[in-house]
Amino acid sequence: MIRVTPDAFDPGAEANIFQAASTEAGAMVTFTGLVRSRPDDPISALILECYPALAENELAAIRTAAVARFDLVDAAIIHRYGRLVPGETIMMVVTLAAHRQAAFDGAQFLMDYLKTDAPFWKQEETRSGLRWVEAKSEDDDARARWQR
């Protein structure tokens, strides 16, 4: 399941629904990305720009690749866009597998590809205005570790 949406979602409820749909899995891993405001550099909001048609296609492709590569029972990605305040959930990935290592590896693979290939762009809203979040070269490195 892939969902690209401006609407808030309940990560715990989504994970439970996902888990209940399968009896073949022994392990589930979730990753949840949260809007973070640090006391030394507070932000009032995170604004995510998105190219929805491309996001849906790329996330579906990443999901299919992860399921095949790690023999996952299932995998899902939910990603929001729009204006989010600190503490809100930006996105989540969930993987279900027979055993724990595949569930962990699948979730990390999804995150590493999503960081570099999913068309979302973050802006931080601060007292002095908006600033674009810079892409990290370590995200390219994280993605590269899966290339054979």
Partner: protein, 83 residues
């Protein structure tokens, strides 16, 4: 053909898209980018480091050497920061 710009590239250009009709010698997406940059100084400057951009054709990320091949929507994508 529609060309889309996102994030700080969109801001630098002050528009989200262009409607263009490239000449027949523009065969690949790389050709298209070169042709667009030659017509638009703001885009040329914003793409001074072209290697950081990815390109999509009809809502799929493809390599720069991909033929345009009748695409209806091409996007120029600054480094992504989702997740």
């Amino acid at each position: 053909m529609k060309v889309l710009y996102f994030a700080w590239l969109r801001e630098r250009l002050n528009r989200a898209s262009d409607e263009v009709s490239p000449p027949p010698e523009v065969v690949t997406l790389a050709d298209l980018v070169a042709w667009l940059r030659a017509r638009d100084e703001a885009l040329d400057l914003a793409m001074a480091n072209p290697a950081i951009f990815k390109l999509s054709r009809d809502a799929r990320i493809v390599s720069w050497d991909t033929p345009i091949d009748g695409a209806s929507e091409v996007a120029i994508l600054p480094p992504m920061t989702g997740g």
